[in-house]
């Protein structure tokens, strides 16, 4: 277990520096005028130019710039946006509603995916299985830019079942529709992986043993088979989080939820480069940390890895 954690940590450190370096390099490297790139097409004033040069240490070497960028990231100093606000304050303001939305989406998606995945695996080839397979295919093919506006139009505006927008202090009910939209991004893959995994595990020898032990069918499936089947599903959570972050940008933009994604989307429109880079960098770090945690969870679920 110890060796596993150490190896993972080392890999994570490497990935961490690699990923942040890529984000940084993409933003600043080889720019004729990095400041104009940050500000996009809008004109920048001389004072902004000075502030940005100082902020990003543009008159120093590339690696030094990267060093200051990383230092800022790790100490929570994300600089100021082109509108003059502190980015860390904007982030502090924005993250609670996004976390609420994402957690709601994950809980909904995981509950439905695991339950439906197990049932279609047990009754594979049956009506329920075929309907879910087709449904997941359709959901899988629905880009979030289609799903979010259409869901808002149909359930929020036309039918009026859900509030079509949400505020910063939104209740869970206000966030339910956007969370469903966001959750649908990951539900199809999770369901399919659960199903395949349960189907494979149902054929495993240890299931026969569990039945020979006179255990109830419920216990065989929900204790013996499920624990094994969840291993590949858990590894998906890490990847899924990346999808959720991406999806949150579109979903929050559509539903006007003033979270992290909304801020990124608005920063793109207003061409506020520092804001985009600041928020994206923080999300990349969160993504990496969560993936590390998922790896550790994976080890907790599968003893064969723990004792490697």
């Amino acid at each position: 277990m110890f060796r596993y954690i150490v190896r993972r940590l080392l890999q994570m450190v490497l990935t961490f520096f690699g990923a942040t370096f890529v984000v940084f390099a993409l933003t600043f490297a080889n720019q004729d005028d990095p400041l104009q790139a940050l500000a996009g097409e809008r004109p920048i004033t001389e004072s902004q130019r000075l502030a940005l040069t100082e902020r990003y240490h543009l008159n120093e070497s590339f690696l030094t710039q990267y060093w200051y960028y990383m230092k800022g990231l790790l100490t929570g100093d994300l600089g100021t946006s082109l509108t003059g606000q502190k980015i860390s304050a904007m982030l502090a303001n924005a993250w609670p509603v996004t976390v609420k939305l994402a957690l709601l989406a994950i809980v909904i998606a995981a509950t439905i995916a695991v339950t439906a995945g197990v049932y279609s695996a047990i009754k594979r080839g049956g009506l329920f299985d075929n309907v879910t397979l087709i449904a997941t295919l359709v959901v899988l093919a629905m880009p979030i830019v289609v799903l979010a506006p259409l869901a808002q139009l149909i359930f929020g505006i036309k039918l009026g079942w859900f509030p079509p927008t949400a505020t910063r202090d939104a209740s869970l009910w206000d966030l339910l529709l956007p969370a469903l939209v966001l959750g649908s991004l990951v539900i199809a893959t999770e369901l399919r992986v659960t199903r395949t995994s349960v189907v494979e595990n149902l054929r495993a020898d240890y299931v026969r043993t569990a039945r020979a032990k006179g255990l109830t069918r419920r216990r065989v499936i929900w204790v013996h088979v499920l624990r094994n089947s969840l291993i590949p599903v858990v590894t998906l959570i890490g990847v899924d989080l990346g999808g959720l972050m991406s999806g949150a940008i579109v979903t929050e933009k559509i539903f006007n939820i003033p979270g992290v994604g909304f801020n990124i989307a608005r920063a793109i429109t207003t061409e506020d480069g520092p804001l985009v880079v600041g928020f994206v960098s923080v999300l990349v770090i969160i993504f990496l940390v969560v993936n590390l945690l998922v790896d550790l969870l994976y080890a907790a679920l599968d003893p064969r890895i723990r004792y490697e």
């Binding site: 690699g18 830019v145 506006p149 259409l150 991406s246 990124i264 990349v284």
Partner: protein, 313 residues
Amino acid sequence: MSDPNAITAVEAPSLQPAGPRGRRGKSSDKPRSLAGDAWIDLRRNKIFWVSVVLVAVILLMAAWPTLFTSADPRACTLANQHGGATGTAYFGYDFQGCDVFAKTVYGARNSIIVGIMSTLLAGVIGLFFGLAAGYFGGWVDAVLSRGVDIMLGIPFLLGAIVLSNRLVTEKSDGVLAVTLTLGLLTWTSAARVMRSAVIASKNQDYVAAGRMLGATPYRLMARHILPNSIASFIVVLTILLGTNIASEATLSFLGVGLKNDAISWGISISEASPYARVATEPLVWPSIFLAATVLAFIMLGDAIRDAFDPKLR
């Protein structure tokens, strides 16, 4: 890499017995019969035909939009703002008074161009890196695998936003920028498929046996394993084509994709969604076309995979 030769070697009749396989006579053309079985399976699959028809229609629309509409998607008059269906403007008019049907039809072209080109780019990068990592192993594999780790350390859309923002120039329509962005960020799954296929083939018993009989493992791999892994490679790319089209729309929707007058379903959706209360058609139709296109490619990939790997069903 001299790979093209390796693949043609499969088609050419072999003059020498190919290791242990050659002895069993008929089974030496197994790769082909696998493809044959898959084709028989595919022919019976309704989903396959539905997706083929859909893909054909979309390709037709992308190549010759004038077959579907004679209207000019850029001829917009504000007087028509949110107007209902008239004449050939079957879907009415949008906020700027443009013909929604014409705009939707013309949107196929950019989707298909970006989708195909970015997928080809991802495929070439993935094929190259995957083969190199699998074939050379050792430090090449280690470096490439860490590279993939780093790529996967950045959530896709976030990376795409930054990269696309960086690549797009002021005056261009963004097609090249988005194509490069998607191609450079999505090759990892293709690389992984190739890498594991090559590694699996290196460990096959009959490859080892063949090596002992004097055949080069490279030739055995090329003859017996690559044709099979090509199938899963194609499946990955077909599905990637679908998701890349969706990603193009998403980037365009957010304003970091196609721009400056380019016609894209993503832009149409973005423009129409604030007015969804007033006019639904400018939002609904590009959405349906986009979803149908993505669905068609994903279904096609799914159907091919099922045909090649029946046990996954």
